[in-house]
Amino acid sequence: SEQAAGEKPHCELQRTESCKVQVTAEGGKGKALCGEGRPSSSCVFVVRKDQDIYIQTLRKLFNESHGIFIGLQRSEEEFAGKSRKTQLVQVSKNYRSVIRACMEDMHQAAVSARDPALHSQYSTQVSILSAMELIWNLCEILFVEAAVAGPLLLRLLDWVRLHVCDVDNMVREVLSSENPSKHELFWNVVDVFVLQGRMDEARHLLSKEASANPTSVNMCRILDDLMKKMPVPSLGNTQTLTEMELKWQHWHEECQRYLQDGTFASNSHMESICKILLGDENAILEKKELMTTWYHFLVTRLLYSHPTVKPMELRFYAQSSMDLFLGGESSPEPLDTILMAAFEFELHQVIKECSIALSNWWFVAHLTDLLDHCKLLQSHNLYFGSNMREFLLLEYASGLFSHYSLWQLGVDYFDHCPEYGRVYLELHIERIPLNTEQKALKVLRICEQRQMHEQVRSICKIMAMKALRNNRLGSALSWSIRAKDAAFATLISDRFLKDYCEKGCFSDLDLIDNLGPSMLLSDRLTFLGKYREFHRLYGEKRFSEAAKLLLMLMTAHIAPCSFWMTLLTDALPLLEQKEVIFSAEQTYELMRCLEDLTAGKSDKQKFQDDDVETMKVEMLRLALARNLARVIVKEGTLEGS
């Protein structure tokens, strides 16, 4: 894919020239071939989902690095100056140790995998992680720590020692043998130590050679002495660079003298070591197989020819080292290009190359964020408005959202993208599948904490509808209360009332009897609560209170008009009681309600009313009239009402 880092789409595209269209599914993660829309083009795109997030061992990487990322964002302005740099270097080391831990796990998984395909997948992952750590480590030295001339070389030596492990087996073999100096690979191991600047270990082996081979004792002593005296840059402030350079110059001349005197002429191994100490490129190059990489060659060269190299001088040495080492036989690999860009201090180039080479955004997103905190990235905007750091974080986090569990990490990443983070979050969060209530609650909490009110309402509505469809009216109400959704609460109340009309009794009394203050969320809900209260009062034979409540429901317009008929019908048994319950005033009110109700109907409706309707109205009129008669008499008598 030859697109620039800033334009990389979420999925990988490979251009193929083909006219066929095929869809294949690979183990549940679909692969689709899609043709492009333009009729003149015959290109087909192969699209596949980002699979890395599903690899078990990488999840640890994502989770742990999330913690480090958050820690870094929160630590923003606590320190300044030198302590800030120390802090940032520590963060970088933390990231690297997480990578290494994953490498370990992945290695274990590869070793114990029985399926060869799985084994090869894990092994590939191990080498990718190893490469990532290699690059990150170099970036830490050059950019985060910004090592100066002197310590720079020491750091690079550490870096090489840590990452060139191909020779470890050989070293172990020789060291653990009975007679190391007799081992056929003995001198190879000494060479390795010298090339990596591990003088003490080289001297230790030389002493074994000295004791085993009396003829070479003299040579060994001299070589040992040279190695002991070799000046190295110090980390502290014990000497200035000039002092060191001076000492080194003297030492270099001394080595030169011994070589020219032919001191080591009888032993080709030691002679070649002496040449290496003098920084002889050819001599060093002869040991190509022991160095295995051009950057090892680079560091060895620097150690023995220019130990006080300045950071800005690295690029020249790097380029020539690579050319000399590869010698035109092979071309640079992606890893080589990335490292070269780092030596050249081309940060943007490093990020771009890594984006192209790696299959997911994890590495570039976190590294760029760290570099941004080191104030190393210019904030020039990419053409669509956000800067490099934000772009990469957005891409990474978006990738996380397609995972059923890692999406929670993505939320925090979006939070720290000031330009577009919020809008990305708003779009993604609505699309998380809510298969359990607990998940929905987590999503809601995230939305509420960020004042994303529209999303809260939307999610609550979805959950409430689901509950309603499953006949879980209490759950549905609970969701409406959370969203303060009066409209939905009305919907639920209507459902209850509908159930009541159909069955003649209330379902879910435990809910309606215990509405509490949530009753006030919607008028209909209030009505439902009060209506149930009316029934309760009636059941407890507190008729006058029930009557008062019933009337209030209509006169205060709490009851919906559609329900008035039911209410009036409920009034019937109260009207038919032996004792008079409704006062005259109340009876007039009831009559007025009835007339309002019937007057509201057009003639056509009256015609369509079936017999039951008409009979009900008739019965009501009769009952009301009778009640009125009784109550007038009662209220009119001298004994009082």
Binding site: N63, G71, Q408, L409, Q438, N471, R472, S478, S518
Partner: protein, 348 residues
């Protein structure tokens, strides 16, 4: 929790697993001679659906509640360190139509008292199972019109449930009628309750945790409202547990990423000191109570005498703490960052 082993499950779909880990350090050499401090994975097994809740039935068997509505008993074979599915009740919880493909409702809570198992779910249903019996002993359909979030035993024949409209209900399983014997509810807003636990020794004291992070202490012998309301977390309280052998201590964990240790051992000089990295933040609380004449520290009403020490056990909180458990000096909890933490020196 069995011997020196703790329990963990990854709460996600597709590749959910039930895992058994060993955190023993008493002379147990790790399998590869590794550092014994780290929990070692002993065995694991695939699980269908999210793990919503789980509990040990006995030394070897674990009951697991799934988001698919299934309830499964797994057996841990200690001789060869494997797990196997021992028994399963399919679609123990379902909506409306049991046979519909989308009819599954999550089983949200499970509690065991060997051999009885009680489960509750999003369908508002209560099931009573018996290990080794294929069919449910008793099912209360539509026990609740809202989601039941948690269940615990009150007495051997009585259970407590909490639901999403803020009610705590007592059910008497001896009685045949499908009604709760008592209903308690919060004052004010009907905030959903997510977890419930009963005091190990004094069975009338019950603690519940709500969606607003509030801890409520109830005395179920008296009244229908909580005795104390303690403002605790900033988000849903997922679990609350009394320490089984040291019930003056209570633990709660929440969506806000904190895990609180509530200590009511009132005498200040006797209080245990808690050693853990990262320092601690403590607050002294005197909670508002209703007049009670009970002995327990949880229900005490003397504000000067009764001071509760509350400690957040997590120094750098990020994502939700979903679950916790305690046994002796050992505390285990799991977070949404897909990590389990073990603290083996709670009262050091």
């Amino acid at each position: 929790m069995g011997a020196p082993a703790a329990l963990q499950a990854c709460p996600s779909s597709l590749d959910n697993r039930i895992s058994i880990w060993s955190v023993g350090d008493l002379g147990n050499v790790g399998l590869n001679g590794e550092y014994q401090g780290e929990p070692q994975l002993l065995c694991d097994i695939r699980h269908n659906g999210d793990v919503m809740d789980m509990q040990f039935l006995d030394q070897e068997r674990i009951v697991v509640a799934s988001s698919t509505g299934n309830v499964t008993i797994f057996r841990h074979h200690q001789n060869n360190q494997t797990l196997s599915a021992n028994q399963r009740w399919e679609k123990a919880h379902y909506h409306v139509d049991r046979d519909a493909s989308c009819g599954g409702a999550a089983c949200t809570g499970v509690i065991c008292s060997n051999p009885e198992i009680v489960t509750v779910g999003e369908d508002g249903r209560i099931n009573l199972f018996r290990a080794d019996q294929k069919d449910a002993v008793r099912t209360i359909d539509n026990a609740d019109s809202s989601t039941l979030h948690a269940v615990t035993f009150l007495r051997t024949t009585e259970i407590l449930t909490v639901n999403s409209i803020g009610q705590l209900k007592i059910w008497d399983l001896r009685q045949q009628r499908n009604e709760p014997s008592q209903i308690f509810s919060l004052t004010g807003d009907r905030v959903p309750l997510h977890c419930v636990d009963r005091h190990p020794n004094q069975q009338h004291i019950v603690a519940t945790g709500g969606q607003d992070g509030m801890l409520s202490i109830w005395d179920i012998r008296q009244g229908t409202m909580p005795v104390s309301l303690l403002n605790a977390h900033e988000a849903e309280m997922w679990e609350v547990h009394f320490h089984p052998s040291n019930p003056d201590h209570l633990f709660t964990c929440s969506e806000d990423g904190s895990l609180w240790h509530w200590d009511t051992s009132t005498s200040v000089s006797e209080k245990p000191s808690f050693l853990h990295q990262g320092g601690r933040s403590t607050t002294y609380f005197s909670h508002n109570t209703i007049n009670q004449s009970v002995v327990s520290a949880w229900l005490s009403n003397d504000p000067t005498k009764d001071r509760m020490e509350i400690t957040n056990l997590i120094p750098n909180q990020t994502l939700s703490v979903n679950s916790l458990d305690i046994l002796g000096p050992c505390l285990v909890y799991g977070t949404d960052a897909e990590a389990i933490y073990v603290n083996r020196h709670l009262f050091a």
